[in-house]
């Protein structure tokens, strides 16, 4: 049996860990609510741009644009969104495992795919496995501004326009609720499903100067907004996931402290009993 002092040390250290995880839990909770606000602020923009894009792309056959057309896939790019730091439960591991498996199944050689990594976790993971990384961004703030990732999104969309990549798949954790997040893979480019979607709004627009010019401006902006939306979604998931992980760590620490205190009291009791027995034994020997 461990000595009283050993148990005492373990209890103290567990208590200190608990303090930390509890603090992290609360920090994540407040960051989560902020992240939700940001996602909400982004909503009007994304809804509006989607509405306009679908109404233009679905309005006529003459709306043709390279970004709307499916082409033979020679190279697929995976846009993987992770966090910079760990301690977020299955947040990073889930998504990286998923992407890694997909890549192994779908592609024979390294020329067929590339990765665009957001977050240190993704960039380290793919570097370690010698997988081609087209672009990466780390050290994003917890509440990213559009300006922070504008370069990355426009470069990514440009890669597609230039024909460097023929397909863009975005992989991130979709935020469902504070306790559920889902690993999601979506094909972002080409925007094929857009042309099939019949426009719900019936308003016919005048185009100034013409439809083609508008699409040239609009589609990249739309694709960039989708990426930014996924990023905000993923940030919310990250905080939610970290919050859950830290909550369960705190609960576990509580359980451990309970167990250890019980052990400690038993040991203390045993020591007292032993002492009494010794005293009684000693007294009896004197008689």
């Amino acid at each position: 049996m461990a000595s009283l002092r050993d148990i005492k040390t373990r209890i103290t250290s567990t208590q200190k860990t608990k303090q930390i995880t509890k603090a992290m839990h609360m920090v994540s909770a407040s960051k989560l609510s902020k992240a939700e606000d940001f996602a909400k602020a982004f909503d009007p923009y994304s809804n509006k741009i989607k509405e306009v894009v679908t109404s233009i792309a679905g309005s006529g056959q003459d709306a043709e644009h390279p970004m709307l057309q499916k082409r033979e896939v020679k190279k697929t790019a995976y846009f993987v969104i992770t966090s910079d730091r760990g301690l977020a439960g299955p947040f990073n591991s889930g998504i990286l495992r998923d992407v890694y498996r997909t890549i192994q199944e779908k592609h024979q050689s390294k020329d067929e795919y590339a990765v665009i990594a957001v977050g240190k976790m993704a960039s380290n993971f793919f570097k370690k496995r010698n997988m081609p990384i087209l672009n990466e961004i780390t050290g994003l703030s917890d509440q990213p501004n559009f300006a922070d990732i504008k370069d990355l999104t426009s470069e990514t969309v440009q890669l597609f326009i230039d024909g460097e990549i023929d397909e863009l798949i975005i992989c991130y954790n979709h935020f469902i609720s504070a306790i559920t997040q889902e690993v999601t893979s979506k094909k972002l480019l080409p925007l094929t499903e857009l042309a099939n979607e019949s426009s719900s709004s019936t308003s016919a627009y005048e185009y100034e100067p013409n439809q083609q010019e508008i699409l040239n401006v609009l589609l990249p902006q739309y694709a960039e907004s989708l990426i930014f939306g996924a990023l905000l979604d993923s940030k919310a998931s990250e905080h939610a996931s970290r919050m859950t992980a830290m909550k369960s760590a705190t609960d576990n620490a509580d359980d451990l402290i309970d167990d250890l205190s019980l052990q400690y009291n038993r040991a203390r009791q045993a020591a007292i009993t032993q002492e009494i027995t010794e005293i009684v034994g000693g007294a009896a020997a004197l008689e």
Binding site: Y45, K48, I214
Partner: protein
């Protein structure tokens, strides 16, 4: 007087939503003036200032994006849009100098184009603040 509801939205959230009598802006193809009752229209905007006229006139610096017009509503969707009060003049000046330096140095075409756009954005912001 008839009015139009104008809303300016960016990925970082709505910038403004209010009623105005006229919207005057610079589209890629030239100046546009929009009064209430305009036919539905979509037009890409250039890096410029949007002038909103009415009881409380406003100027807004937009960096590209586009404009969607409905008879009673105008929506401006831009990747960034700022009111004069929100513009960081120091930053815009710094960006202007940086872009000018880049334009001086001989570089490949993409960088050149980028610097040019950055310069335009910076000049636009400075202009909006100075003429508010």
């Amino acid at each position: 007087m008839n009015t139009l509801t104008v809303s300016v939205v960016t990925p970082d959230g709505p910038v403004l939503e209010n009623s105005f009598e006229m919207v005057s802006c610079k589209a890629e193809s030239g100046e546009l003036g929009i009064l209430p009752g305009h036919i539905p229209l979509v037009a890409p905007l250039s890096i410029s200032s949007v002038r909103l006229k009415g009881e409380n006139p406003q100027r807004i610096a937009v960096s590209g994006g586009f404009l969607e017009v409905r008879p009673d509503k105008v929506t401006i969707l831009a990747q960034s849009a700022e009111r004069p009060d929100d513009i960081d003049v120091k930053r815009a000046r710094a960006a202007k100098e940086r872009a000018e330096r880049r334009l001086q140095a001989k570089q490949d075409e993409i960088d050149f184009r980028r610097a040019e756009l950055a310069l335009k954005r910076a000049l636009n912001r400075i202009e909006v603040v100075e003429n508010r």
